[in-house]
Every structure is written in C-alpha cells, then in structure tokens.
C-alpha cells in the first residue's frame, strides 16, 4: 500500500513537473483567483456592514466608504474572474495538447513489438480520455489550492483585526475543510479512479473490437452476447459510480455542514465579545458574512480532490506508455547509409523467438546472402517464419543471436528511419488509412506528382479501376480501406509501396488476394521493377520461380533447402512436393 502511495506521489510529481514552463502564468492565476474571492468577501461583508451602519447612523455620508467598496468590487471581481478563468484554461489546454503529442511521440516507436501487449481501444482511451482527465489536476487542484492558502491568510488577517480568537476559529474551519475534507474525499475515492479508468479502457476495447469485427460477430450470432458483455461492464462501472456518488454527495454535504458550522461558531464566539464590547456590535453581520464568503475558496477543493485519484490514475496510465522502452532503438551514432549500388543483405546465424513464446524458436540458424540487386524468394509452409524474417530485416524486432548485415554492417548500426527509408515493403496484412486513394498513396511520397501516382497505380494493375470511379483518386476508401474489395486493397498497398521507389524490396504474399490474370500482369510488372533492386520475396505461389537467384525453403524456422528453381525441382524435397501439389490439378493442355 505504501508502495502504491509512493507511486501516486511520484506520478503527481511528474505531472506537476510539466507545469514548470508555466510558473509565471500560474502565479498570476493564483493572484487573480485570490482577488476574485476577496472581492466577494469584501462586498458581502461591506454590504452587511453598510446596512448595519445605516441602522444606527443618520447620515448617509458616513457610509460613503462602504458604498464605494461595494460598487467597486463588482467590477474587480468580474474582471478578475474572467482573467483567471481564461488564463488557467489556456495553460491547461496548452499543456494537454503538449502531453498528447508527447505520449504519441513515445508511443510510435513501440509499434509493433510492444504494442501487441496493449489494445488499440485501450490506447485510444489513454490518448483521448485519460489526457482529458488530467484537466482536473491542472485546473482544479494546483491553482485552487494556492488560492485557498492565500485566502486563508487574508481571512486570518481580517479576523485578527477584530480578535485573535475569532481569527483562529475562522482559520481552523478553513483548514479543516480545506485539508480534512479533500483528504477524506481522496480516501473515499482511492482506488476507484484507477479502477474506473481501467474499466473505461476495457469498455473501449470492447467497443473498438465489436465495431471492427462486426461482420464476424453478426455472422456468428454474437450480437446479443456482445451486448450483454457491455452491459456487464456497465454494471461494474455503475457500481463504482454509485460509490463515487455516495462519496461525492457526502463531501458536498459535509462541506455545507462545515460552512454552516463555521458561521455558527463565529456567531457563538462573537456574541459574548460583542456583549462585553470587545468588538462593536455593528460588525456582527460583517463577520458572519466574511466567514461565509471565505469558504468560496475552500468549497471546490473537496470535489477536485475527489477527482484527483482519477487524474493520478490517468497519469500512471500515460506514464506506462511513456516509460515503456522500445524493443529496438537507434544507435547513439548512426552510421551513414551505404550507396544504393551496394545494398547487400546478409543473415549470419540468426536466431529469433518472440518474447511470449517461451523456449520455442521462431527462427533457427538462418544464414543467407542477398547480393546487391539479386532476388531471393522465401517459400515454405504457413507459420514457418517467413514474415518474421522480413520483420527482422525491417528491425521491428532484433534477433537474439546472430547478425543481419547490410553492406557488411550490422543493421543495428544504422538509424531506424534511414534503414526503413531504403525499403519498399508490402506486408501480408495491408493497412489502409481512412482517407482517399490519393491520401493513401501520398503517404509513401508526399510530393509525388499526379503522373507518378498513376504510374504506380498502373504498375499495381489498379489504374483501370481507379479511372472508372466517379471520384477517381479522391474516392474515399472507408475504414481500413474496407470499401474496396480485397484485391483492390492489396493492389493499392502495392502501388503505395512502389511509389516509394526504394532500392530494397520486401514483398510478402503480394498476390494472395488476386485472380490469376491480375496476378500474372502484376508479376510481370514487378519483374521489371525488381531489376537492379535487392529483393526478398515471400510467397506460397510458386510462380516465376525460375527468375529467382536463390530460393530458400523455410520449414519450422529452419532453412531446409536452398538453391535455384531447377535444382530444387530436381531434388525430391519439400519444394518439389509443394510445387507438385500446386500444379497437380491444372490440365496438361
């Protein structure tokens, strides 16, 4: 438990550290806030002094000072309030925007290796709702606490003018409700914040997955169950909120009680003083009003502290991302990239396993060389580790043993961004953004001309399709590109990769969703494109294999056969078997 508390303290501290550049603004906010509340105190107390005075004097001139104060305070308070609100919100929202970007900056390098542990719905909740949750800390805790301190001091001073005992009582009540109540609120809601935020993340995951997997859900008649699951989450949230409501109501009620008691005690204390003429009876109403108005600084604290648990939990969730080390990172002094004519890729005794996999290796003893400008195909049964191999080349993961070399240098000595700039990649599960066809293409080359776009589309065999669309390149592809057919999506991803015009090509099952005619045309186009580029091609489709400089046959993470197409066919191994199975049903015309 103490550990948890120290975590919370550390989180609070780190969150507060974000405020450092804004210290002057915060000072001004606090001053304005203090002025606003003191103005109200003066107004109300002066007004009651005014009428009390009026009840005993007979000439209005004697009251001119209170009248002026009363008049002035309205203006002072209104402008102080406006300034304070504007400034504090300005600082806070600037900060939130800054935090969002900061979290994104740390999040991006975590993909994909680390992000597999997190779910996108939960991440979304962190980036949107959790960041918003920090509002409470910056807006309703930091400055208001300081304002409350300020107002307490002013109140003490004002009461001390009349009587030190009164001043002590007044301050005692302010301190109790300013300290004890917020702490109580914090205690009552402790843990609830963390739980609620975790639940919210969970609900978000549920929603995101349900929306994106809706075809599967509906096809399997799971709509009702999904609804019930959401209802179950909601029920848990509801229980939590019930407790929060009890606590929230309690603290509001106690706040009212303390305010009332404070005024009451001041009265009880001041009456004997007034009777014994230690203070003028005229000031009785004045003192009561002063006390009442001073509470304006204290009242919001309890509620803010009731929410503080949420803010801290949100902070913790954000820091979990910020503190997560990426699996791969840039070297301290990245090497300059080799010339594009010498991009030789080589694997040297590479061993790899995904973290979750325990002892089992995904890749064992992989050694091969792709000379600059050569083409190597990787084939083998599903799950053999082909895509994993490409991921290693891209440095999404690093091998546990062995090295991958580019032009004789370890991949790890280059900057990640530089390295990936060299590679034109089509992954197996293509991702399209919810944007236009053009927007998706421009991702690869933001300054590409219209002509270049069409050329890339033509190479990917998609130009005819795009041309017949009413909106052409500006057609919206929908969520994850799902308004296109599977083959169209794949070809758009290919066009995007080709547009990048990179010297190394990594192609993973590029024709999986294409019909044979399109596939054939595409392979022809790719054939000319591979000319002079170092190419790694992963495929189940043993087509045009004779054009490959080498074929690696991967099975269960090992290279079981290697050689050229004819050599492999001549051998009676896995490759030959796969090839025969593939062609068995075709007619021998």
């Amino acid at each position: 438990m103490t550990r948890k508390r120290s975590v919370a303290l550390r989180t609070a501290w780190r969150l507060l550290a974000f405020l450092r550049p804004f210290i002057p603004q915060i000072v001004v906010t606090v001053l304005l806030g203090g002025i606003m509340i003191v103005a109200n105190m003066l107004l109300l107390s002066m007004a009651s002094y005014l009428i009390a005075g009026a009840a005993i004097v007979t000439m209005i001139v004697l009251l001119s000072i209170p009248i002026t104060i009363v008049r002035l305070m309205g203006l002072v308070r209104a402008s102080a309030r406006y300034g304070e609100r504007l400034l504090s919100h300005n600082v806070t929202f600037r900060l939130l925007a800054h935090i969002r970007v900061a979290v994104y900056r740390r999040l991006a390098p975590l993909a994909p290796a680390r992000l597999l542990q997190l779910r996108s719905g939960d991440l979304l909740a962190r980036l949107v709702s959790d960041v918003d949750e920090l509002q409470n800390l910056y807006l309703r805790v930091v400055a208001p606490v300081l304002v409350a301190v300020l107002v307490t001091i002013v109140t003490y001073w004002l009461f001390a003018v009349f009587d030190p005992a009164l001043a002590l009582i007044a301050v005692a009540f302010l301190v109790i409700s300013g300290l004890a109540l917020p702490l109580l609120a914090l205690r009552l809601t402790r843990g609830l914040g963390r739980e609620q935020l975790a639940l919210r993340g969970r609900v978000n995951v549920h929603i995101v997955e349900s929306l994106q997997g809706m075809s599967d859900l509906l096809a399997y008649g799971q709509a009702t169950r999904r609804r019930e699951e959401l209802a179950a989450w909601e029920k848990r949230l509801d229980r939590l909120q019930r407790r929060l409501a009890v606590a929230g109501g309690l603290q509001e009620g106690l706040q009212e009680l303390l305010t009332g008691l404070a005024v009451w005690s001041i009265l009880v204390l001041a009456i004997p003083l007034a009777v014994s003429a230690q203070i003028n009876r005229v000031y009785l109403g004045f003192l009561a009003m002063l006390m009442l108005a001073a509470f304006e600084a204290i009242t919001p604290l309890a509620q803010a502290f009731g929410q503080l648990g949420h803010s801290l939990a949100a902070g913790e969730r954000l820091f979990r991302i910020i503190d997560m080390p990426p699996t791969v990172s840039d070297p301290p002094q990245p090497r300059a990239l080799p010339a594009s004519s010498s991009l030789e890729l080589a694997f040297e005794g590479v061993q790899f396993r995904y973290e979750e996999q325990g002892q089992q290796r995904t890749l064992t003893d992989i050694s091969f060389r792709v000379p600059a400008g050569a083409r190597v195909a990787i084939v083998g049964p599903s799950g053999a580790g082909k895509s994993t191999l490409l991921r290693l080349v891209l440095r999404f993961w690093d091998p546990q043993a062995g090295r991958i070399l580019l032009d004789g240098q370890d991949l790890r000595s280059f900057a990640l961004a530089d390295l990936r700039r060299l590679m034109g990649v089509v992954t197996q599960d293509t991702y399209l953004f919810n944007d236009t066809i053009r927007g998706n293409l421009l991702l690869a080359a933001p300054s590409a001309t219209e002509e270049q776009l069409w050329r890339a589309l033509a190479l990917a065999q998609l130009d005819d399709f795009v041309r017949q669309l009413p909106a052409g390149l500006d057609t919206w592809v929908g969520e994850q590109g799902l308004k296109l057919s599977g083959g169209e999506r794949q070809r758009l991803a290919i066009a995007r990769a080709l547009l990048k015009d990179a010297p190394i090509l990594l192609l993973d099952e590029v024709t999986a969703h294409l019909d044979r005619l399109t596939e054939q045309a595409l392979l022809e186009a790719l054939n000319t494109l591979m000319e002079g580029r170092t190419t790694l091609l992963v495929t189940h489709r043993l087509l045009n294999m004779e054009r490959m400089d080498e074929i690696l046959v991967l099975d269960e993470g090992r290279i079981v056969e290697r050689g050229r197409h004819e050599q492999l066919l001549a051998r009676d191994g896995l490759y030959r078997r796969l090839w025969e199975v593939q062609n068995a049903l075709l007619p021998l015309a």
Binding site: A47, S48, L50, I51, A54, A55, I56, I60, I67, G74, L75, R77, Y82, A97, V101, Y104, A111, L116, L124, A125, V205, I207, L211, Q212, M214, S215, D216, Y220, G221, R227, L230, D238, A245, E252, G253, Q255, E256, G260, L267, L284, A288, S382, T388, L394, D429, T430, N434, P446, S485, G487, H513, H540, L543, E546, E566, L578, L585, L586, P587, L588
Partner: protein, 587 residues
C-alpha cells in the same frame, strides 16, 4: 432535446426528480438558516441580547445547518445517479443500434469517431443530465420562490430583482446560441481527433514503413492544437457570460445594499428584514450563476446528444420483417437467387446485376471472378448486411427478407475475406461460433481445418492469446482458425470467402479435402482464385463486373480453353519460352 432524453431513458426520471426536490428543500433550509441568522444578529446588534437570549435560535440554526447538509448530500447523490444511468443506458442503446446497423455502416463511418460518441459523447450527456438539467429547473423555480418569500419583507428589492433577474437568462440564451456552433465544431474536432488516433495507432507499422510516423506527430500536434483552440473559443464565451453574470450579481447586491441602507437611515424598514433580504439576494442569483457555469457543459451535452440521436435515428440498411414465418426452413438448404441486383449506398454502378443461380442442397459451389467482380458483395448479400435492390433470394422457396436477419444468420457459417479474431485465447475465438461447444468438438473442428497441428505446437496450445485482430499469429494460421470456427458452427450453409489466400499448397489441399467431406451435409459456397480450392466444387459460377458470365462443372469448363473459368484458372502469359517445359504447359 430534454424531452427526448427523458423519453428515451425512463430510469433517470426518479433520481432526477428526487435531486430536484432535494435541491428545493435545501433552498427552504437555506432560507430558514438565513432568517435565523439575521434574527440572531439583529437581536444581539440592536436588541442588546446576550448568548443566553439567542441560545434557542442558535440551536435551531445548528439544526437547519445539519438539515441543509443532509439535503445537499441527497441532491448530489441523486443527480450523479441520474447522470451515470443516462450514460450507461444511452451507451448500451447506441451500441445495440450500431450492431443493428451492421458492418457496412461502420465502414462508411470512422470507428474512432463512433467510439468517441459512445464514450465522450455519453459522458457529456452525463454531465448534461446530472448538472445542467436540474440546474435549469432550479434556476426557474428558486428565484421565483425567493421573490415570493422576499415580497413581504421588502417590495422595492423584489422589484429591483425582477428588473435585473431576467437579463441573465436572456444574456445566456444570446451567448448560448452564439457559442452553439462553436461547440458543434469543438465536438467535431474531438471526434476527428479520436478517429485520427485510432487510425494512427492501428496503422503505426505502416507509418513506420513509409517513414511517416514523424510527420504524423506533426498532424497529431495540429489536431490537438485545433482542439485546444476550439475548446478555448467555446470557453471564452462561457467565461465572458460568466463575468457579465458575476458583474450583474455584484451590482445588484451592491445596489440593493445601498437602497436598503438609505431606507434604514430613514427608518423605513426594520434592520432584521433588511439584513435577511441582503442575505437572500445572493441566493437569488446563485442558481442562475450556476446555470451559467454549467451552461457550456449543457450545450456540449446537447451537441453530443444530437449526434447520438442522429445515429439512433439511422435506419438499418436491411428491412426486418415484423413476424417470424412458420415453418422455418430446415436443412438441407437450397438457395436460389432470382434476378438479383444490388448496389452500395452512394455508388452509381450496381455491384451485382441480374444474378440468377441456385446453390443446390448438399453441394459445393465455387464462385470465381476477377478482383472486384462482386464476389464478396454476394456474401454480404447472403448474410443480409446489405439489401437487395431488386430480385429475390429464396431459401428453400422462402424469400430471405421474410426471415429476421439474426435468425437467418444462425443458418450460416462464414469465413470472411479478412477474418477478425478478438483479443482472447484461441479457444475463446473458436467458441464464438458455438459457446456451448465441448473441447473435443473444438479440437476436431481445428483438425478438420488443418489448424490443430500448429495449435498443438504453440506453447500454451488452445489457451494461447491471439492478440487483437489475431496479430500474434501468422496470416495462414489466422485463416485456418477462421475456417475452424466456421466448421465448428455446423451450420447448414457454409460460406468461405477466399479461405486459402494465405495458405501454402499443402494446407490448401487439406482444406479442399475437408470441404469435399463436408459438402454432403451442407450447402457450401466457396470463393477462391486458386484452382486447388475450387476444383472440388460441383459447380462454378463465374462473375465479371457484377454479372454472372458462366455456370458449369469445373472439370468440364476447364476442358474448354475459351471458357472464362479456364482462363481465370490457368492464365499464363504468352512468350513463356524460357520456362521449363512442364510448368509452361501446366500453368
């Protein structure tokens, strides 16, 4: 809007009413408290009374203070309950409606935006109901109540309040209608931000591949900045109106104090009454001021509610019949399409045109065609994700649109082109098809789909977590799981949309054999581009540009070199001289 919300969620009526009532009672307690306070002060001040003389009143004051504290507790508690109930209920309702709208609706929207509506939107609704709604009632009732109470005390002050009071709501309405469009924009920006984040998170790998994650950071910064700007713009109006309100309040208090003072000097009013009036004046403004502070939250809630009701008002694309027909079709199923035409919303060209064919019971039909021919569209049609524009689909003679979609989908097992696995274990994902399936059944379905071997090799077997969207599996493994899931369902109609696209030839052959075995008891429709999957079929349908161009038996069609089917399956470029002989002939 208020009415609509109250109509939609009956569950909030009681808490809301209780909260409003507690608020009103708390006001009465306040009035009592203030009356006692002014009486005590007056007694001591003018009546020269000591502690003893006012002791009873002091005790009474203490009691009212406690009473008020209790009422405030209740007021807060019920208001919060009302808020969270609205939130929870609207979220569930919205979620249910989205499921009814189906996958095609979601593809047209941005799921991140929908998530924002379900989340932030409902949360804003919560604030609206918990804070703004009761406050509007109080700001209507409490000032009037106080005026009535103050009237006997002092006519002039009441008249003054009557003149200044209405200025505030008028001001607020003016500012409100002005800031409404800014709030609308702010909401749109938030929704965009959320949509953008989701798209970015899920596409991070792609962004890395194109070296765009840095550029994306700039975009995130721009959107966050825009959100900040819009929020502040909205708030600026709220603050300005708040400041004006504050000024009015202070002015009125000052004015009334001076007026009271003047009349006190002239002894036209007793002190105790004057003091009480002074104490009550801030209470007169308090609900209005608070309405001012919650006004902007209220507006936000309204904007969110507008979006929520907009989605709720969207009609599902497919018509649901009012009644369930009887008798229901029984397996085996024969599916007949008669002159079916369909079109995606917003596109001019029909995706399918005038299709007529039959899927006979107990047989396997293969659907082939070039990419974009409309194969998956036919699947969407058969699953009732989109509506037929004209023509009819008959199931054992019964028009499909006479069956409720949920009921019909129980007859169908589907392997979509892009299967989705949910985060959870392999077993959970398979069970999706049949929650009550035993482990044996799961394993034999996996066996049949060729998935059992790799699952066994996974360190935790069937309990392995697959990750969101099955990202921890290889593409072929994911596909085989999707097939296993479909097999497990044992539905009379089995539809497989490219079930072998990521499989190696051997796994593909395994699957073909499984289909050969399965088709005896089922009606099977399989879409594929590869002959190894298609060849087992009893008939093939060839689609081109949304039209059916060829129907026949695969082996027979393959014999005719001119048939569309043969071309699709054996396409081979001319000039293949450099290839080894057998392959050149074979392909």
């Amino acid at each position: 809007m208020e009415k609509q919300i109250l109509r939609e969620c009956r569950a909030v009526r009681w808490p809301l009413a209780l909260s409003v009532l507690a608020g009103l009672l708390a006001l009465l307690a306040t009035v009592g408290q203030m009356a006692l306070l002014s009486w005590i002060v007056a007694q001591v001040f003018l009546g020269r009374a000591g502690l003893r003389q006012v002791a009873a009143a002091l005790v009474a004051l203490l009691v009212t203070i406690c009473l008020r504290a209790g009422l405030v507790w209740l007021r807060e508690f019920w208001a919060r309950r009302a808020g969270s109930r609205v939130k929870s209920e609207m979220r569930q309702r919205l979620f249910a409606h989205l499921l009814r709208l189906g996958p095609l609706f979601v593809r047209d929207e941005r799921s991140g935006e929908l998530v924002a509506t379900l989340n932030e939107g409902c949360e804003r609704l919560e604030t609206y109901v918990a804070r703004y709604l009761p406050q509007t009632v109080w700001s209507l009732v409490i000032p009037l109540l106080l005026l009535a109470i103050m009237w006997p005390l002092d006519h002039l002050s009441v008249l003054l309040l009557l003149i200044t009071g209405p200025v505030i709501p008028i001001l607020m309405i003016a500012v409100g209608s002005y800031s409404q469009k800014h709030i609308q924009r702010q909401w749109t920006t938030l929704a965009r931000l959320s949509a953008h984040f989701l798209d970015t998170i899920q596409g991070l790998v792609t962004l890395h591949l194109f070296g765009r994650s840095g550029a994306q950071e700039a975009r995130v910064a721009r959107l966050s900045e825009e959100y900040r700007r819009r929020t502040l713009k909205v708030l600026r109006y709220a603050f300005l109106s708040g400041a004006v309100l504050e000024f009015m309040t202070m002015l009125a208090i000052g004015l009334i104090a001076v007026f009271l003072g003047v009349r006190l000097i002239n002894r036209e009013i007793p002190f105790v009454q004057a003091f009480l009036v002074l104490l009550l004046v801030p209470e007169f403004y308090r609900p209005l001021r608070e309405l001012g502070t919650h006004y902007h939250a209220g507006m936000e809630g309204r904007v969110a509610a507008k979006r929520i009701f907009e989605i709720l008002a969207t009609e599902p694309a497919v018509n649901e019949p009012a009644t369930t027909p009887s008798p229901l079709p029984v397996a085996p199923l024969t599916i007949t399409c008669e002159h079916v035409t369909c079109r995606y919303a917003g596109s001019e060209r029909p995706a399918l045109q005038n299709l007529t064919f039959t899927l006979p019971a107990g047989s396997c039909t293969a659907l082939v065609g070039r990419s974009g021919a409309g194969k998956s569209t036919l699947v969407n049609l058969l699953l009732r994700f989109i509506e037929i524009e004209s023509g009819a689909i008959l199931v054992n003679g019964l028009p499909l649109d006479r069956l409720p979609a949920d009921l019909w989908r129980e007859y169908v097992a589907l392997v979509p082109q892009r299967p989705y696995l949910f985060s959870g274990s392999i077993r959970d994902n398979l069970r999706l098809a049949r929650p009550e399936a035993s482990d044996d059944e799961i394993e034999s379905a996996a066996e049949l789909a060729g998935a059992a071997s790799f699952i066994r090799e996974l360190p935790r077997g069937y309990d392995t977590e697959v990750g969101e969207q099955g990202l921890r599996l290889s593409a072929g493994q994911l596909q085989r799981l999707a097939v296993a899931r479909a097999f497990l369902k044992q539905a009379p109609l089995l539809i497989l949309d490219e079930p072998t696209s990521s499989l190696d030839p051997e796994s593909e052959t395994l699957l073909r054999e499984a289909l050969t075995r399965l088709r005896r008891e089922r009606t099977v429709l399989v879409i594929a581009h590869r002959i190894n999957t298609v060849a087992a079929a009893d008939q093939v349908l060839v689609l081109d540009g949304g039209r059916l161009v060829e129907v026949g038996e695969p082996a027979a069609l393959l014999e005719q070199p001119t048939s569309a089917y043969a071309q699709l399956m054996t396409a081979r470029m001319r000039g293949a001289g450099a290839l080894p002989g057998k392959e050149a002939e074979a392909l």
